[in-house]
Subunit: 346 residues, 2 copies
């Protein structure tokens, strides 16, 4: 419609034509957007190309890989895939800092492990905590209050807590390229879900603001809750009991439980995401399976097959995962080579 | 824009105006729709009015009850609220009929309760089954296969099974007024969820087709699944073990777990829905709480405070629920008085 550009002529036709110009402007805006790189923080290379190819084919009605809009599901691990997980998971940092706050109500913790080591700031001891030690710390800091109270506590903590290396709020330590991938998928009709081994109620506090993901699209680990009447008002009280472990095979189970559809795209970074990628890849048609490899010690961290950091509690990207990725044609994202920019603040 | 009707004149202006007519036609269609009664199967009365008032105020930006689109959540119980639950839950009918099919692989059932009574068609004995008897029947018929296999079995069964009284497929025994309420809420930006004490994976088989509700918006009871590799392909195998009981207080817990937002509207029909309505009502602003009362023995069934049927296993609407509804200003829907038509086929 080249004559649409002759705006002087158009403006004389008033109401009727204002509708037409709106339509035309929207169409011009769309074609302008199409020329803007939706993945501007990615370097050209196989990882970026894999995302572009996936979206192009799955949204093209005449392509054999076309996916109906209602089936466009993309799942993202959080820790190490969407944001920094070193030197410890953010939620573990929250739990450890809560011990320092709550000791006022629990003076006995000063002489009682594992709290004693936390309070003493004994990092060597903390690094050696068993699953059971962590469970004790998590239940002591994540249970015993209502859901609403817990989310208020998390929200307050996030507003002030800072990452030890980057000296910024944790919610700023989100990988800009991944945020662009999420936006790009959503702009093409994909529903983006976070599927995290971390706490569902923790992540739901900020997922909308930080990732554009609403609470109902956050699937994670959870503790049991109990329906109780408090002063005549119903409350959901958090119990010191694991309800669902959304990690490893739990991720495939959680996806089926919460979504009931097999994802067409899945993003992870550790062995905890293996089954999510396998489950995604076992579907027919074109499926995108991607793994973030932390190989950038300068801008972020290098661990896993890239080595460089001692064994820690965070997600492991071991050789067996790398081998499976190669055998099954999963795309490995090299932070160092594939990401032009890592954080929005850079 | 009355001149839009003069189509002869408009047609001369070609491309530019075709955009304008599209916009205008859409706008005319909208105003035509606004005049059509969205709840045509409801009689005028307090129940219909409650729905209309709720939608009007929660979607009016200048009303103090306005609800942001992302928070517009409406939850619906299924059995007895969206479709017929007498003389037994549809899923119980499925389980009983499966026993007859599966006895070929389990000849020992012929001499083993509770299967023996089922195979003998001993209705008096079936009516007296304990929770444990039912659990045995449910696990024997709902576990031991993959999720995909189970959904295939349900789908096949639904295609042929018929309701004993109405002689129609169960999926036709949906209450037309409730389907209109769901459509009307969705047309006004509400996300409609089914929150059922029944099996989540059972309901997900037909919820999209029958109610327009996608799998990720069906929350229900579930059994545990296990991630397994079968011939090199991952499968989720169904285990004979309850994972989540989405009934009574489980409905409030399930809503928080799956949705993470408090509903603004909730529809139920039995004591199993009590906590869902309480949880909904405990939120601030305007919340719609409705209970379907089965008081129409002629067109459907009369039970609960309306009496008329002996005590059965289906949802009970007892006097305590009626008292709570009155005390808390929940709206009771009288099937007999509030519904002009019950089924689409009438």
């Amino acid at each position: 419609m080249p004559n649409l550009a002759r705006h002087g002529e158009l403006s004389r036709r008033s109401i009727l034509l204002s509708a037409a110009t709106t339509v035309a402007a929207a169409s011009l805006a769309r074609s302008a957007t199409a020329q803007v790189d939706p993945l501007v923080s990615w370097n050209d290379g196989p990882a970026k190309q894999a995302i572009l190819d996936f979206v192009r084919t799955t949204t093209n009605q005449s392509d054999f890989s076309f996916v109906a809009p209602e089936d466009r599901i993309a799942t993202f691990d959080q820790d190490g895939t969407l944001w920094v997980e070193h030197p410890a998971y953010t939620q573990a940092m929250f739990a450890l800092e809560r011990v320092h706050t709550l000791v006022q109500q629990h003076p006995e913790w000063k002489d009682q492990e594992p709290f004693k080591s936390v309070l003493a700031g004994d990092e060597a001891a903390i690094a050696k905590f068993s699953e059971r030690d962590w469970a004790e710390i998590v239940f002591a800091t994540h249970a015993g209050m209502s859901q609403a109270e817990f989310q208020g506590i998390v929200s307050q903590w996030l507003a002030t807590a800072k990452h030890p290396r980057f000296k910024r709020p944790y919610t700023e330590l989100v990988y800009q390229p991944m945020r662009e991938a999420m936006d790009y998928l959503r702009a093409n009709g994909f529903k983006t879900y976070i599927v995290t081994g971390g706490g569902q109620d923790f992540v739901r506090v900020y997922a909308q603001r930080v990732y554009g993901v609403p609470p109902e699209q956050v699937v994670g680990s959870s503790i049991a809750t109990k329906y109780e009447s408090k002063d005549g008002k119903p409350e959901l009280m958090r119990l010191p009991k694991l309800f669902f472990d959304d990690d490893h095979s739990g991720k495939a189970i959680g996806i089926d439980l919460f979504i009931g559809k097999r994802p067409y795209a899945a993003f992870g970074n550790s062995t905890g995401d293996r089954e999510m990628l396998e489950w995604t890849g076992a579907g027919d048609g074109t499926r995108l399976k991607m793994l973030v490899h932390h190989d950038d010690a300068r801008r972020e961290y290098a661990y896993g097959p890239a080595g460089g950091l001692p064994d820690t509690k965070v997600g492991t990207f071991d050789q067996s995962l790398m081998d499976e990725a190669k055998a099954k044609d999963w795309t490995v994202i090299s932070m160092k080579n594939d990401w032009k920019r890592i954080f929005a603040f850079e």
